[in-house]
Amino acid sequence: MIRRAALSGAGLLVAAALLAPYAVMLLTALRPEAELRVTPPRLWPVEWRPQNFWTVLLDPEFQSWFTVSLVVAVASTVLVLVAAVPAAYHTARHRFPGRGAFLFLVLVTQMFAPTALVVGLYREFFELGLINTYTALIAVNAAFNLAFAIWILRAFFASIPREIEEAAAVDGCGQAGALFRIILPVALPGIVTAAIFAFIAAWNEYIVALTLMTDTSMRPLTVGITSYVTAYVQHWDLLFAASVIAIVPVVVLFALIEPYLVGGLTAGSVK
């Protein structure tokens, strides 16, 4: 009994430590700008200013960043799924020459964040004339999130017993029919996990967008919001209001896929 109480106490402390910075974010987003510049600084605002959130939401620049983020994240997620579902299904069900090498290559790509390659990426799109295009951003995001998607989907497909497909065949279901009516519905949690993960990764991506989108009007949220605080203007309140708006939905989505994440990210190595 005492032991459980102690554990709860420790857990509470840990949770508080993890959430405290984000509480500061929220409390800063909820105060008027004038209150940002008081010494000593206060944790609680004197005057609450939830209107900051409206200011941000109605800011045409914010709306543009938000739209770019949404379009890029959705498009790259769709691309990832279109490529990853067949690839994962095929590697899970068939043994073919080079299968090991293929999976190995996929694993290696996962280790390479775009960061180390960013100069090469920049050169590639520069030569292709694709700097400042959404195509470039969508392609890079899709490419780098593909690896995780293939691995996690493969694990899901492999866990579906072959007998189900055989039973479907006996019942007169063709291979395509079996795929769409049996396999995909059963693997749905995996597909949702892969989709959410790809979406969040694209939503949070920073360095590639910073590099490839030199046109300020075409930037996504992660890059765009930094213009609330520069050497000339310091709207920390708006920066954090925008951050809260960007973070909350992602945290909720993330919580949904949490149970499946670790297995996918470590690519079957921890079991």
Binding site: P40, T211, A255
Partner: protein
């Protein structure tokens, strides 16, 4: 794979300040890279950044994973709290810490004052900026590492502990001689993946070190970025040379990682 090819090609070429390719120059960019005055400091920073962040993260995560492996009221809350720094955009978290570390208006110095200590210019003082960055690096690395270790802990069957207890092993000895050896594979996976992740990390160093001129606190990743796009150098060839070095270092870590995996089991 194509960006990698382009990276190698760029590292062997010369570029005008506007980015026009002006022909191949062979390994000259690599020689010039070695001649950069800032290089020793940057390599040193990278070494400190990566080793300290990974070591501290693993240490804290071991405790956290152990805690989360127990059943207690409120465990779900802790798991949710752990998700937040993981899911939140790194750049937003980094900006948040810039604000918390602020000399005049940041809450950290407010807390320092409350404790009776003098305020510190966390991100401006050469002595504290690396520590401040490392703290944020650990903060955002904790969730993933903890989850990997937790997954490892949950594979250890309870009977093993029973057996150790029957043999008369106390709490600490059970942990040292039963838990840790069985957790070793998960530890290695967590360490190597974290290592790669931290080495590649850009937004934290980029954002928290923003105010400081020069390259005194840059890691190899932000140094590369500054050479290519920000500094007076604007030298794509030189940056690409450093990029190739970075990629090779990661590759080394990946190979080590795969050897570790291969050593334990057949590849999946």
């Amino acid at each position: 794979m194509y960006p990698a090819v382009e990276l190698v090609r760029a590292s062997l070429g010369r570029y005008s300040i506007t980015g026009l390719y002006q022909g191949a120059v062979g390994p000259r960019n690599y020689v010039r890279l070695l001649e950069q005055e800032a290089l020793p400091a940057v390599v040193g920073n990278t070494l400190v950044w990566v080793t300290v962040v990974v070591a501290v993260t693993i240490g804290l995560s071991l405790g956290l994973a152990q805690l989360l492996n127990e059943a207690f009221p409120g465990r779900r809350l802790v798991r949710w709290a752990l998700i937040v720094p993981w899911a939140a955009s790194l750049i937003m978290t980094a900006k948040l810490f810039v604000w918390i570390y602020d000399y005049y208006f940041g809450l950290l110095n407010r807390a320092m004052a409350a404790a009776g200590w003098a305020p510190v210019d966390w991100l401006g003082d050469d002595r504290t900026v690396m520590g401040a960055m490392i703290a944020v690096g650990v903060f955002v690395s904790l969730p993933f590492t903890t989850y990997v270790l937790l997954a490892g802990l949950q594979t250890i069957p309870g009977e093993v502990y029973e057996a150790a207890r029957v043999d008369g092993a106390g709490g600490w000895r059970r942990y040292r001689w039963v838990t840790l050896p069985l957790l070793q594979p998960a530890l290695l996976v967590a360490a190597v993946l974290n290592l790669i992740y931290v080495f590649n990390s850009f937004p934290i160093v980029w954002t928290l070190n923003d105010r400081n001129p020069g390259f005194a606190h840059d890691t190899m990743i932000t140094f590369m970025y500054k050479i290519a796009f920000k500094s007076a150098l604007r030298d794509v060839g030189l940056a690409a040379a450093l990029g190739v070095v970075n990629v090779l270092l990661i590759l080394l870590a990946v190979v080590a990682y795969l050897r570790v995996l291969r050593g334990r089991e057949e590849p999946a």
